[in-house]
Amino acid sequence: MRIISTLSLAIFLTFMSTSFGQDEDKKPTDPAHAEKMAKSLKLFKTTVRQVLVSHCLQCHGGEKTESDFSVATRKEFLAGGVTELKTEIGKANESYFADLLYHREEPAMPKNSSKLNDKLLGTIMTWIDLGAAYDRPLVESDKEPDAWTRRRIDQAQKDYWAYQPLAMVKIRSDLHPNPQNPIDHFIAAGIEESGLEVNKKAPSPLLVRRIFLDMLGMPPTSAEIATLMDNPADKVLSATVDYVLSDSRYGERWARHWLDVARFAESHGFEHDYDRPHAYHYRDFVIKALNQDMPYDRFTRFQLAGDEIEPNNPLAMMATGFLGAGVFPTQITANEVEPSRYDALDDMAATTGTAMLGLTIGCARCHDHKFDPIPSADYYRFTSTFTTAVRSNQQIEMPDADLPQRLAAFEASHQLFVDAVKEYATARLLESFVKWEASQGDQPNYSWYTMKFFDVTSEKGSEIKRLDDGSFKVTPSSATNQESFTFEFHSHRRDIRAIRVEAFADPTLNAGGPGLASNGNFQFTNLHAGIAPLTTPNELKDAKFTAARATFNQNEGLHVRTVIDDKPNTGWAIDPEFGKDHAGIFTLAEPLDDESGHRLRMTLSFNGNTKHIFGHFKITVGANPDAELLGPSVSENVAAILEKPHDARSDDEIQLVLQWYKFQDATWKELDSKRKAHLKEKPTTNVETVMIVSEGVTPLRHHTQGKDFFEEFYFLKRGDVRQKNGEASQAFLQVLSPEVDSIDRWQESPENSGKTSGRRRALANWMTDSEHGAGNLLARVIVNRLWYHHFGRGIVSSTNDFGVQGELPTHPALLDWLAAQLISSDWSLKHIHRLILSSYTYQQSSEFDSKWSIKDPQNKFVWRFAPRRLEAEAIRDSILKVSNQLDDTMYGAGTLDESMRRRSIYFMIKRSKLIPMLQVFDSPEPLVSQGQRPTTTVAPQALLLMNNPNIRQYCVDGAKQLLGESSDETAVVHELYMRSLSREPSKQEIQQAVAFLSQQTESYKSTGVSTAEQLAMADLIQVMLCLNEFCYIY
């Protein structure tokens, strides 16, 4: 003891002499004086500073200095200000200061407030008499404006329990009457000390229900109850615990708790509240991580720096959504650019601090933390971690472990389709062709010819591909909305009098095409053809057209005629005849009839609206401008072969003909389309757009009159961007670091091409380091959150604040034991759940006892399992479950549609459009981290359960099913009780329910409703859902 106190005294004295020499007493220090000063300093830190700051400082040394009296420094305090009524050490009670505080003189202090209580006043007087020690001034001095950026904490401030290593306390194991695991010993110690007694154990059926509601967020089905209760009596509960811990509904239930803490939402907030459509992956990450029992340290590391730690792991990338889940304005004027960025970084730092460490780091943005040992300097150095981190949408290949198997299975089944086509083509196609040709007689049914194709170029870079049937398919360039294509063709046919352009419907295009516009339209604005005989191919002459006709013209202004007028921007369009084949025929002024053949250089232009371009089309020529618009065509080569006598055709020529003919053959076409349809089912790698937070990536761009982020990060005096006090380099919280200013221990050399700074990985290393960094506190905070959700009250009841202003732990040894359990189980959260669920403490009855309630009304010592209302999501999910209307599809984009029947966690969270049904039951606004939810009981909740159309619909649909399963009312009532309350109804309850059903049925019948029984049953279901017994966990 002596050694320790001397040591702390030495630290104290060093501190006094180096930092605040001007306040130092000049007198030589005798041991008694030093001891007094040490005691005085302790009082200052535990009590007096708080009093001075909250009651005196504002008017005396803070915002103003009334009567020239300041309490900001020891010197000023003792000097007494304008009254010159000094306060003398050792004579505190005689001072003017004491007169005012004790209300012996006017003006009584604190002003406009009642007298401080006597105990507090006594402490202040003792503090003065012991030497009125200060550890540091209460406000800045003006001499060194940036002194604050170098502020050190007093090492003694690390003594606060939350910053200490985990304490392994031996506890008595003989106090609990019926312990089931060590938790019960810890609890028994508190119960004993407070003169309470543990409650009896709750009956198993009730516990099954409690565990389901708590762990899965919905009651068990009657089948689940039956299966679990079928175990030997002593195994029922352990079987139930095993069951819920391996059920994926656990992840959906408990992810919601973490999402509150992570202030998760899927929109930017502010003026436009634009959606973040790719943000839901973070929610899916949390669900998946919990279900696979991802070690909590890894869970934490991924959220802070998954992109730096495992950039190739999709889960790690999804996890970074944590940092980016906060609000950010979408319209930022020049004046607001910098402050907005500092706000965004503050959101990341403050949420990280609160969610992971239960530390209110954000409070130190404008001044040193008022209560906790977090100087503003620490805030800036900590926050600098995120300087270049931005939100970004990235394409990420999602995990798909069984893709190879699925691909192999597909290939096998697809081969059957390929073979069918091939087999038909080799064995039957020729036969079919011969029949067809015979049926044609002398006049072939085609009058259009595809020419010999050489080349096509696109002016704006769209991709254009020629298909087997001679048509062209366009993939537009994203950079352009207009386009023109230039083709090189040769034709060897004589007597060409028309050019036909066909535009095809195509299921891959918007609205089925034929255009690329969003509605499927096109606007063909110009057709140009330069023509030359092949003997003089370079002497191209512009072809003239005399007429044009088409399958359909949108109107006179968008008539096919306008393609061949001289106006570059007028053209042919076909709204609303989308999803159909179209064709235009353009009559040449002079026929092409040179025996050497012709070169045709043709340009098709599309100068109209956005992407009004052909998506799939074909160009043919023919001798008859009046021929059928959509009639078939044939290539010139094939036509030449067809025109030959049958026996003059070579085998190769016949193959060539068949290549053309197959597209006319109904059976081949059917087989081939089946093959194509099946091909669409080919499993592909699942690439999704994910909103991540990273560095060196393209930030999500807002309407910002300036930069999205800055490379540098500064110390800001009072949080004001106009008062920069130098650049802040990265460091973590002094109170949770062994070395001052050094973070070497946690830094790693960058390996991933230097895209990111490595700062967040260093933070993640520090955060999860339980030897030197913040790991112990990280563990304490999360096991406390788990405890809170299991019991409705944390061991530290202020779950988001483990600082001095927060509540002290009711069971510090238990908290540390659980934290140590977490760390030693490789940070397994499921291990902690299992410990808690298996404890007698958790399995206690919720029965009330006024004897104990008087001693411990808040149940701090857990003498019973305190009943509590379910949260919004659990109420809604349970309603869906009980009415048998739950769609249990997991993961993926959410919706704002309130009639959705998936679990509530799959509602999209849009900040301006929160789901009213959840809000009314106290789901929080996702703006800052929320560790606890209030439970209010107000009329709109009752109105919702009574009248909401969705809830009513669930009940009506549930009634239909129930009545379909059984017509025995007693059996139905029984089933309904099991489903909703997890217990059998009493005889009286059955009678009451049956009577209610018949009364309601009669009533509906009397109003002429044909589905009276159904509505009555719906009424009964709805009443069950409104019951207190349904909405509370007991």
Partner: protein, 481 residues
Amino acid sequence: MNDLQITSGLTRRQLLQRSGGGMGAIALSALLAGTGLTSSANAAKSALASRSAHFPSKVRSVIWLFMNGGPSQVDTWDYKPELAKHDGQELEGFDKNTGFFTGNVGPIMKSPFQFKQHGESGTWVSEIFPQMSKHVDKMSFIHSCHTESNNHSPALFMINTGMKRMGFPSLGSWVTYGLGTENEDLPAFVAMSDPLNRGLPKGYAQNWGAGFLPSVYQGTWLKPNGKPIDNLDPAPNVNGDQQQAMLSFLKMLNEQHFETRPEEVELETRINSFELAFRMQKAAPEALDIAMESQETHDLYGVGVDRCDHFAKQCLMARRLVERGTRFIQIYSGGNENARSWDGHNSISKNHGQFAGETDQPIAALLEDLDRRGLLESTLVVWGGEFGRLSIVQKGGTGRDHNPHAMTYWMAGGGVKGGTHYGATDEIGNVAVENRVSVNDLHATILHLCGLDHQKLTFRLNGRDFRLTDVAGNVVHDIIA
């Protein structure tokens, strides 16, 4: 652990709350009932139950007439003869980043409107308010208000929540948190937006959101189309008798259950909430049904007059709600921005002419109607927007750009000194210079008028006691009667 350490972390305020004294105690214990079914009698009180203020106040209700988009002070209530004299001159030293359109800075522009003096107070009023000008002696003007953003949404958040950033509780939520409501059959805090399909104010429901306060304190937005409040009507094929039968059956089962756990008072509160809900089904539509009002009243407000019918109906609903004990009502004039609201970038005369026409008669009627029914002294009526407008023209038109440095607010009724003027802008009305009143000051004053001390009305979140006025705010005592 000694006693000293236990008290060390507590402020006096917290001690008060924990020892069961003061307003905070009730609110807090009601809110923290979530930590289990406590058996304390306080916990059974609804979070909306009426509570006494920090000190006596006449005000039972507040109606905030919100001129969305930023009404121009110099074209409404802040008469500046010098403005006309300098018309067309460049404004020297003007920082072009003051407004939103930094490239459209024009010269000083006089008001397109004529001003006349009215009332015993001789208050100068723009000709666009012929009806409201009759009530100037009921109004107390603050000409020196200023705010912190030149952008709609941060400025809206500032004026509504005291913070430019998003996510803080609105004034209405704080007042409701502090005082509860007089009538739990009706929503405690009501927000009404533009019913003419011109949109919501920027930032949407955040403007009447409860932020981190429990969601019971958020404003109930009356939907401008269809049923104004959700879940008030039973399912279409369930009639009143059938619903009554359900509720009776529910009550019977709930009471059978409650008998086995008589100490859990929260269960009883919840049983009662169904009866309250049943009453609300009738009470809320009745309160909003202006058809119950006389033709004379309709005519007074301008119901049926094309120009102002929509706003007249909203003002009349506000009066009916106030009469029935609703605590806080906010009515937005105008929708999203630009021509859809008071955001007169292009033409002050056209824009303000139109919106004044929409609101003048209804507001005047509201003041008169409250007065003749004896409700004005218990109702605080507040008029103003999110910022003012510049004294210079926005180049390219005859409108004015945003101006955070000057705006006029007036209040009437509820304990304010009528016919008075506080603070002043410079000679051309561009910057508040005398007795400047920040948004925090304005909020502190409104809370004070409601009997609430803005420094004591706090909510603990993540280690900090949050206030509407953050770390600032001075009550403007000069306007208080």
